[in-house]
């Protein structure tokens, strides 16, 4: 501790001396860059910066470079002749547009449904119902399971002949439906399963936010004559906005890369017609067809979409001074 203080004092003295101009130029140059806060803090930001820079940003840049080549099959990519031909092919590829459309539907419907159901569950649990903690665990449990496991569950439950979902709708005289086979139903079925798995997560985020709202506000709203609906709509839910924003960013980013669930449900890179998303198309082009450059092109598209999701969030956080 003593050492630190004496060191800080020395730094302080040197700075004072420098402002007086009483130090030789050589020492000033020698010391000045070492004294810069950015240099002094290097041990703290340096390692993560280098690791992230190498493993994330350099990888993204390399991926972009790959997407400009014509790399396919085995061997090494040829970087001497770069061009946007893969992007041109992609724009004309109907499979790409179909996958993009499905990705967008998945993203929007999944996120909105998770937010609404999560909010409803959180409000119910926040009302101090009996066995609230047990219910909370039950609702959160699906989120703790791996997608490979839940995908297998849903495959069984969606089975046309003896799946429980068809047994259930059969009780009211409907069906049987081919949930995972009918192109009109398949995306909805996948979204439903994902919402089941993720609404527990949104519930926990909302619940934490709800618990941080002082009880006085509920009472004040009551005393002012607000009914329950009005109280939540006007007083409580507006205060959940930050929780909603961060939860929706996480959900949307997940939706963009919802690969593992589809892979497990359809047992491969080619989902049923109607459920192909960009992530599965990217894997198929890369690892099925060895079209590495084209696969990288789709990856860059996904990356841009992710940026589209996260950039507004980062911007508002920056504006608020949270970054």
């Amino acid at each position: 501790m003593k050492d630190i203080f004496s060191y800080l004092y020395k730094v302080y003295k040197k700075r004072q001396v420098r402002t007086d101009g009483g130090v030789t130029e050589e020492t000033a140059v020698n010391n000045s860059w070492r004294q810069l806060p950015i240099v002094q803090s290097f041990p703290f930001w340096g390692p993560p910066f280098i690791l992230m820079g190498f493993f994330v940003y350099a990888a993204v840049t390399w991926n972009f470079a790959l997407s400009l080549t014509e790399f396919s099959g085995f061997g090494d990519p040829d970087y001497s002749n770069l061009g946007l031909q893969n992007y041109a092919t992609m724009i004309q590829d109907p499979t790409f547009w179909q996958a993009t459309w499905h990705t967008v539907i998945l993203l929007v419907v999944f996120t909105v449904a998770c937010l609404i159901i999560g909010l409803a569950l959180a409000i119910l649990l926040d009302r101090e119902i009996r066995y609230g903690n047990t219910f909370r665990t039950i609702y959160l449990l699906p989120f703790a399971l791996s997608f490979i496991v839940t995908a297998q569950f849903w495959r069984w439950m969606y089975n046309v002949n003896d799946g429980i979902v068809n047994q259930f709708v059969g009780l009211v005289g409907l069906g049987p439906y081919n949930w995972l086979g009918d192109p009109r139903l398949v995306l909805g079925s996948v979204i439903f399963a994902l919402v089941w798995q993720f609404s527990g997560y949104t519930m926990i985020i909302y619940l934490a936010a709800l618990r941080s709202i002082p009880r006085d506000q509920y009472e004040a709203a009551r005393i002012d004559g607000a009914n329950t609906l009005r109280m939540y709509r006007r007083v409580i839910i507006p205060q959940l906005k930050p929780a909603m924003v961060s939860a929706s960013v996480v959900l949307m980013l997940f939706a963009l890369k919802a690969f593992d669930f589809l892979y497990a449900v359809f047992d491969g890179y080619r989902p049923r017609q109607g459920a192909d998303i960009l992530a599965t198309m990217m894997m198929r082009e890369g690892f099925n067809n060895s079209e590495w450059a084209y696969s990288s092109t789709i990856a860059i598209t996904l990356f841009v979409l992710s940026l589209g999701v996260i950039a507004p969030y980062l911007y508002t956080e920056y504006k608020r001074g949270n970054l």
Binding site: G73, F74, G75, T95, Q98, R155, Y158, N159, V160, N161, P176, N178, W179, L180, G181, D182, P183, D267, G268, Y269, R270, R272, Q273, R284, F287, N288, N289, S290, E291
Partner: protein, 418 residues
């Protein structure tokens, strides 16, 4: 007492030294290690066949150690991906199981040549069927050795269900007779007439055999060589549409063929068209060939043998060239082919192999193989077209012909792709 910093430094230096030593270790070894072989036979008859095959090798070559790596799942998808990753990162195994023929094109640049060491030394070219020899040739040499062949133009059926429906299988000699038989099963029994999975590779396989049966061998060969007749392609799709619309089960789009084959075994479905690996399931289940289940040729392909070949492929920069060559010579030998095929439910591509170890069904198939007038290469299993073409055809089927069925769109795409 050492400072914490010193301890950390020492630990860091030690682990770095160990890591460097680990890297150097590979190059330091002067002798060949064990021969690594990747394959996808992890369950049922495949696992049994692999056990007999690798066990046989260990008996014959006790000095060569085989590092067998079974990678199952996803209908060889996981295996193919592992192989691709290994080859991509210049870390090839000794050998891996894969389809020869046009499928080898995807490995262009990373395959080695075993013509001298394996084919010439064991005289495989004169002992194996000419189609298998041709399929293993690559870039002027040999990049693979065939291990066995499944028949791709069988139509299997449950004998009891056909009896109940009053259908005589011998009468099914053209596609109209097949449709009549399906209709009879549909009206006379509770069974599903045709067990059919609408997985894209299964549709592609069924399309190919229907084209062979209705349009003939020449039309099929023209199609796979890129000179397809649009009318022939369309008519094949129209026939399939009729069958798929009326005679397959409602879970066809989501069930895989093993589940559907269970229905044939249990008497809940009458016919199934698949590669003859389904017969392995019947035999494992203890069902009797001829009295419980039987097979006819898909109508119209009676004098053909739908050709499929499994092979062991030889990557370039082989880590164990000597050991792998010995292994491949064994794969092409009579003992290797018998050990593998009798359990796998496939037949040897080697000619004149003693058939005493094979069951009646396979003995019949071996005989048919030798007598077939034509052996059209399979479209859905890598022999006829390269991987990217096959994948595009499957994409087209998945988008336009996997319920609902759009004959115009899928015909147009098929004509464009090949």
């Amino acid at each position: 007492m050492p400072l914490r910093r010193d301890i950390i430094k020492t630990a860091g230096a030690t682990s770095l030294a160990l890591a460097l030593a680990g890297c150097a270790g590979d190059d330091g070894a002067g002798q060949e290690g064990s021969v690594e072989v990747l394959h996808g036979w992890t369950g049922g008859d495949g696992a049994e066949a692999a056990e007999a095959f690798f066990g046989g090798f260990a008996d014959e070559f006790p000095d060569i150690d085989i590092d067998e790596q079974p990678i199952g799942g996803g209908g060889n998808q996981n295996l193919d991906q592992t192989v691709a990753n290994r080859l991509q990162s210049n870390d090839p195994p000794g050998s891996f199981a894969g389809w020869p023929g046009a499928n080898l094109e995807r490995y262009d640049g990373v395959l080695g040549d075993v013509e001298e060491q394996v084919w010439d030394e064991s005289d495989l070219a004169s002992t194996h069927a000419e189609e298998a020899v041709e399929a293993c040739q690559f870039n002027g040499g040999f990049a693979a050795v065939p291990i066995g062949s499944h028949r791709m133009n069988d139509l299997f059926y449950n004998v009891d269900v056909l009896d109940e429906a009053g259908v005589d299988p011998a009468s099914i000699t053209d596609i109209d007779a097949l449709v009549d038989a399906l209709e009879a099963v549909d009206s006379e029994t509770d069974a599903t007439p045709m067990a059919m999975s609408l997985a894209s590779w299964a549709i592609l396989q069924t399309w190919a055999v229907t084209m062979l049966g209705t349009q003939g061998h020449e039309a099929y060969m023209d199609f796979i060589s890129g000179n397809g007749d649009e009318a022939a392609v369309r008519e094949t799709f129209e026939l399939l549409e009729e069958i798929f619309e009326n005679y397959i089960s409602p879970d066809a789009t989501s069930a895989d063929f093993t589940e559907l084959n269970q229905n044939v075994m249990g008497g809940d479905a009458a016919f199934i068209h698949e590669g003859n690996w389904v017969a392995g399931a019947y035999i494992n289940e203890g069902l009797e060939y001829g009295s419980d289940w039987d097979a006819i040729r898909f109508p119209g392909t009676e004098d053909m043998y739908g050709l499929h070949i499994d092979a062991f492929v030889y990557p370039a920069d082989n880590p164990t060239p000597e050991g792998t060559a010995a292994f491949l010579r064994y794969a092409g030998s009579e003992s290797g082919q018998i050990a593998f095929n009798q359990y796998k439910g496939s037949i040897p591509t080697r000619q004149g192999v003693a058939t005493d170890e094979f069951n009646t069904y396979l003995t019949d198939t071996i005989e048919d193989f030798e007598n077939a007038s034509q052996k059209p290469p399979t479209l859905a299993h890598g022999l006829a077209v390269d991987q990217s073409t096959q994948s595009s055809l499957e994409d087209a089927l998945n988008s336009h012909f996997a319920d609902p069925f759009d004959v115009d769109a899928v015909t147009e795409e098929f004509m464009d792709i090949v």
